[in-house]
Amino acid sequence: MRQPGGRAVVQAPLPSATASASAAPSGKDRFAVVRGVALPLVIGLAVRLVLAPYTSWPHDDVVWYQATVAGQHHTTLYGRLEFPNPPLWGYLLQGLGWLLGHIGVTPAMLGVADPRMQSVDLATGGGFSVIVTSPLYNVSFKAILFVFDVATGLLIRHLALSLSGAPRRANLAFAAWFLNPFVIYETAVHGGFDVIVAFFTIASVVLLLERHNLLAGLAVGLGILTKVAPIFIVPLLVAVAAGLPLRGGRLRDGLDLRGAAMFCAGGLLSCVALFPEVLNGTALEMLRNTFTRIAGGGDVGGLCIFGLKNFRGMTWISAFAISHRSALGLYAVFIQFVTSLGLTLWALLLARRNRAFAVLAGISLIFAALVLLAPLASPQYVLWFVPELIVVSAVWMRGGWSTALLCAASLLFPLALLGGWSVVSPLAEYTDVIPVSSVVAHVIAWQDAPGALWGIDRSAIFTAPASLAAIVAFVTLLIRYQRAPFPRAQHA
């Protein structure tokens, strides 16, 4: 089969895996891997290490700081109701806190409370924090994220190489991830842990396609214990583990119940990580913290359809959300659930033509739909499925521009939300390069600036088009994936 570009593409999922990856990699293979990723790896790590110490997204990073300090105090992750996510990332932070504590790093060395920041916190409606995390802490916790950055990049490269058989494309895929400004921003500046979800998702795909079903289930289970969202891709992954869709064979012969059972067992195995909360009697607190946001507070927006509220003339969206706030969150979850099931069926139909493509495209679209249909969607959620988008782009030349558009929108949105000064509070607090008062003044000025052009306020000039771009990217991805270039009879 030929790609639009006229280049031959290996069709079957992981065919070259049988040739090159099934056996232990030779020394030559290892050298090729190193040579292919070394330069982007070094550049990417250098950029991350330059950005990491003196940047932060205070609204989120203060929560990581609290979890780390709780680790030093041994007050448990949910003991003070601060951690609003499933526990896995929190456990890693608590372990970091314990480790730092035992080498003499006290909570005071992890961050300071600067009362001057309170005016910013008030001006942004609680979108900031008085606590400014220290460079030492920023580097420490972001270093954990960098490990996942690298591991995700290597899995992207592996999948791209296995599916295309083209080392150059695989190396480009690695670079497209590791040097992606959006990815770098999210881990090195923001400190968002969504890259962990991205890793567990792509890891589950690799393991599933290579028939390590138990481990694939374990990976997606750990992903769910990081953020709940991967639970929406479980039906697709279970179906693939079960050998669906059957290709004309009889059910008894084709259905791999053992594969599905192993996948589910792996998922259940990950629940062992919840034992501390159960034994400690804080399981209910964990559930309450994790799911509180579903109840909905009438606050909508972000990189989703509700983000269109920031266009002039679209403020009725906010009014609608407020007047339906008690039901909005639950309705949104219901619609997300139904949509994800629909996309799962779509992917399974597509899998009759190419299983690997269907899994990758299905996961991408399910996650994209989750984000776009959420009442309140943070741009970092896009990180969950960027690896799959990159692999599809690299192997099948599908959705490259849409992926770039989505990444650009996801990068623009947070920078425009509070303005660029909002991420440099550690630089102001811990150096003399810029004064704290400048950060305070600029962020408040950005927040209070009147609207212009099509935006209802200064930030909306950028965030509203970013939301629109995300919607456009999703629709074009759907169209491009639907027109996947496979002969219907192709068995993957």
Partner: protein, 362 residues
Amino acid sequence: MRDAGLRAWSVGSRIAVGVLIGVLVATGVSEVLIYRGRQTGLASTDLAATVLHRSGSEVDIRVSFDAGPGVSDVRLVAFPVQDGPVPRTVSVLDDPAYDVLGADRHTVRGAFDHMQVELGLHGYPRPVREVTVPALVALMGDLDHAAHNMVVITTGVFPAEIFSRHADLVRPWLQAGGMLVWGGPAIGYYSGHRDTPVTITDPDNLRDNGPGVLLGLGGIETNPVAGRLGSTPTVMGAALSLDFRQTDVGVSTLLQATAGARLLGWVEGQHSSITEIPVGKGSVLVFGGVIFDELTFARDMTRLILSGALQATDAVSTKDVQTGGGTSTVDWQLPFAQTSLSVVALDPSTEGVFLQRATVRT
């Protein structure tokens, strides 16, 4: 896909499994270390304080405490109290049928959640519970037990059944010894009805007259000055390291002299961020603005309640000490002639959880 060769361990599988194992080991070790390790000192009554010597207007005491892990700086705080602080049952208003002003419902709910957890962590001996409006009507109607109760309202609006142009359960309850904690727009300004959005034109609103009717005095601004933050901590605010600084609708500092009000938080000009105003046998604790950050509110409340600061009668002494792990013992000379002192040891940092207290009879 079913090819046996695909089951082998490719580079990708090895990377994936390697990281999976690493994460499992890291989280497992973390959990064991954190959940089985010794906690920071939480039980609020574990502080040991004894009188060494008493002479006229001074008293020497010895304080012993074990702050536990993660605490290097401890602040000792001492002040005279009327009696040993009587723990009150804490009832936080959260009724979804009634509108909220300024803050959102998450924040109102969060104020309860965090107060319950923070007080519970320290072994607070009385219940911390959520109440709806009917329960609050019953609670405030029970004047016999007013002195054992604290009501927290962070919705910014009184239910009309509780306080409005046509109802007043609050003032009699305060007179009988109840304590009301208020956060939001000016206290008494708005009154709300069940399943009805609050409006400024509601005839039940007392509006500008509300604070005066409720407290029997002036000195509370009804026109908020958005974003006005306290710039100077009060003595108690600095001692307990309280963080709530909003004075948007702050109480006038002049009430300290004219009405016996106590300034407990921060001050900006003549406006106080946290003010305790005596009303009869009880009091109202006014937070000078909308509660946007329920965590800060809950932590400040926890420190005020557990330290006994709400029963303080006079000046405050503080002493910062470094802990070296294990039990710390500090001898301290205090300039107090009173016979009942509250002695507190706490971690003054924003994230600090260590807080222990003892009442010393001299």
